[in-house]
C-alpha cells in the first residue's frame, strides 16, 4: 500500500507541475462546457431536472477526456523517456505500478472535471437563472459516477499506453477516447426516460463504469515487462 501512495503521489505532483498539460486541460475544461451551456439552457426550457441531466451529460465525457490528457504524461512520457525501464527494475509489481499511476492521474483529472462542472453550472445559472446545485442526483453523479469513469479511462488508456508502441498509441488513444464518449452517450440515450439524471441512468452508468474498471484491470494483467520494454522507442 505504501508503494501505491508513493507512485500515486508522485504522479499527482508531476501533473500539477506540467504547465502545458494543465493549460490544455484548463482550456478544454472551461471552453467546452461554456459552449455547451447555451445548448443545454435552450433545450431545457426552464426545467431544473433536464438542466441537471445536461450538466451530467457534459461532465462525464469531459472527465474521461481529462483522464486521457493526464495519462499521456504519466504513462507515455515515462515510456518515451525510457525511465519506465528503471521503474520496472524496482521491487514494485507491474500491477501496483499501473494502479498507482492510473489513480495518480485520475485525481487531477477529477479535479479538472469538477472545475468544468462548476463552470458549466455557473454558465447555465447565469443564462437561465435556475439553480441546479441542490439536485441530489447531480451531486451523486459528480461525486461517484464521474470519478469511476475517470478511473476506468485512466486505467484502460494507461494499460494500452504501456503495452503499445508510440504510433499505435496515437491511433488507439483517439479510438479509446471516442469509444468512451460513444458508450457514455449511447447509455444515456438507451436508458428508460431518455437523457438526464435518474436513478436508472446513474445505476447503469455506475455498473458500466465498474465493469470498465474490471476490464482495465484484466487488460493491465495481460501486459508484461517484456511487452513494455520492447515497445520503448
Amino acid at each position: 500500500m505504501k508503494t501505491f501512495s508513493v507512485i500515486a503521489g508522485r504522479e499527482m505532483r508531476l501533473a500539477l507541475r506540467n504547465r502545458s498539460i494543465l493549460i490544455s486541460a484548463a482550456i478544454f475544461a472551461i471552453w467546452f462546457p461554456v459552449m455547451s451551456a447555451f445548448g443545454v439552457a435552450a433545450g431545457a426550457r426552464g426545467d431544473a431536472a433536464t438542466i441537471a441531466g445536461g450538466i451530467a451529460a457534459i461532465t462525464l465525457p469531459v472527465g474521461v477526456f481529462m483522464g486521457y490528457i493526464f495519462c499521456a504524461d504519466a504513462f507515455l512520457r515515462e515510456k518515451r523517456d525510457g525511465t519506465i525501464e528503471t521503474l520496472l527494475c524496482t521491487p514494485v509489481s507491474l500491477r501496483r505500478l499501473w494502479e498507482g499511476k492510473a489513480i495518480g492521474v485520475a485525481v487531477p483529472a477529477y479535479v479538472m472535471a469538477l472545475i468544468s462542472a462548476t463552470v458549466t453550472i455557473a454558465a447555465i445559472t447565469a443564462i437561465t437563472g435556475i439553480t441546479v446545485v441542490t439536485e441530489p442526483l447531480l451531486l451523486l453523479h459528480l461525486a461517484a459516477i464521474v470519478p469511476v469513469w475517470i478511473i476506468a479511462s485512466t486505467g484502460l488508456i494507461g494499460a494500452a499506453q504501456l503495452a503499445l508502441g508510440m504510433r499505435e498509441n496515437q491511433i488507439l488513444g483517439f479510438l479509446l477516447i471516442f469509444g468512451f464518449i460513444f458508450i457514455i452517450l449511447g447509455l444515456q440515450e438507451i436508458v428508460p426516460g431518455g437523457p438526464g439524471v435518474s436513478l436508472v441512468t446513474e445505476g447503469i452508468l455506475a455498473a458500466a463504469g465498474i465493469a470498465l474498471i474490471a476490464f482495465a484491470r484484466f487488460i493491465a494483467g495481460k501486459v508484461t515487462r517484456e511487452r513494455i520494454v520492447l515497445t520503448i522507442p
Binding site: 508503494t3 525511465t83 521503474l87 521491487p91
Partner: protein, 310 residues
Amino acid sequence: MNAVEVRGLSRSFDGRNILNDVSFTVGHGEVFGYLGPNGAGKTTTIRILLGLLTPGAGEVRVLGRDLAADDDARAKVGVLFENNGLSDRMSATANLTYYAGLYGVDEPAERIDDLLTLVGLADRRDDLIGTYSTGMKRRLGIARAILHRPEIVFLDEPSSGLDPGAQRMVRDLIVELSRREEMTVFLNSHHLDEVQRICSSVAILAGGRIRAFDSVANLTGARDRPAVTVTLADPGDRAGASRVIEALPFVAGCDPDGEGIHCTLSDPGATPDLIAALVDAGLRIEEVRRSSRSLEEIYIEHVGSAGGGV
C-alpha cells in the same frame, strides 16, 4: 553461490539470434566488465538478467534468484540505464525520495544526504534535474542506483556521452562504490580502457557469443605469461640477442619489435635470469620493461577491428 550465473542463454528477435549459448558467472564483490561492440547483445543480456526480457533458452540467476518472477529479489539489485531513470521535472532530492519510497529505504533523508555528498551534488540538491549537465545526471543516476544499498549493481554504459573529465569522475565513483559499499558491479561497456582499469574480470561478447571470459590479469597475460621488452644499448646487437633469448628454456616467444625485443615468458619469475643471460653473452642493456597486452588488443583479437555486432 555466484552473484550472477548465466548458463546456455540464447535469445532471438524476429528470427535473428541475438544471444547464442552464452554462459558466464560473476563472483560476489567482483567488478565485472561485459564487453562487446554495439549490437552485440550486451543490453539484451542485462535486460534478461533483470527480468525485463525472457530468455529464449538457458537459465539466468542473480543472487540465486530469478528477478522476473521474484519482485522482492529486485530490492537487492541496483540498475543504471542510459537515461538514468530520473525525472527532469523533479529535484535531485525529490527523485531520490521517490525511489527511496519504492525500495522502502530506512531513514531516507540521511541516506540521500550521504549519497548526494558522495557524488558531489549536495549543493544542487533542490535544483530540477532538467538543469543538470549530462555528467551530473549520470552521477545522480549512480546515487539512485545504489540508494537502497543493493548487493549488486548493473551499470549500462555509465560513461557513454560524457567528456573525459566526467568519465574519470564516474570511473572513480564506481571504484569507490565497490570498495565502500562492498557491492558486486556488473559493468556493461565498450570503453576498454575504463574496463581494464576498474574491472577484475571480463567477458567479451561478439556475434551473440562469448568470445573470452577470464580475469583481466589472465587475459592480458600479466599473471601467467608475463612479457618484457628489452632495449639494447646498441640496436645492431638485436639479432644476436634474439638468438640468446630464443635459446632460453623459460622464453615462450621472442619478437624483435621496433627498437626493442618483445619476449613472452613462460615463467613469471624469470626476468632476472633473462637479464643475466644477456649480460653473460656480453650484450649491453639499455632498458628492461615489463609489458602486457592491452585489453584493446585482446578485444580486437576476439571481435575484429570491424566489430562483431549481430
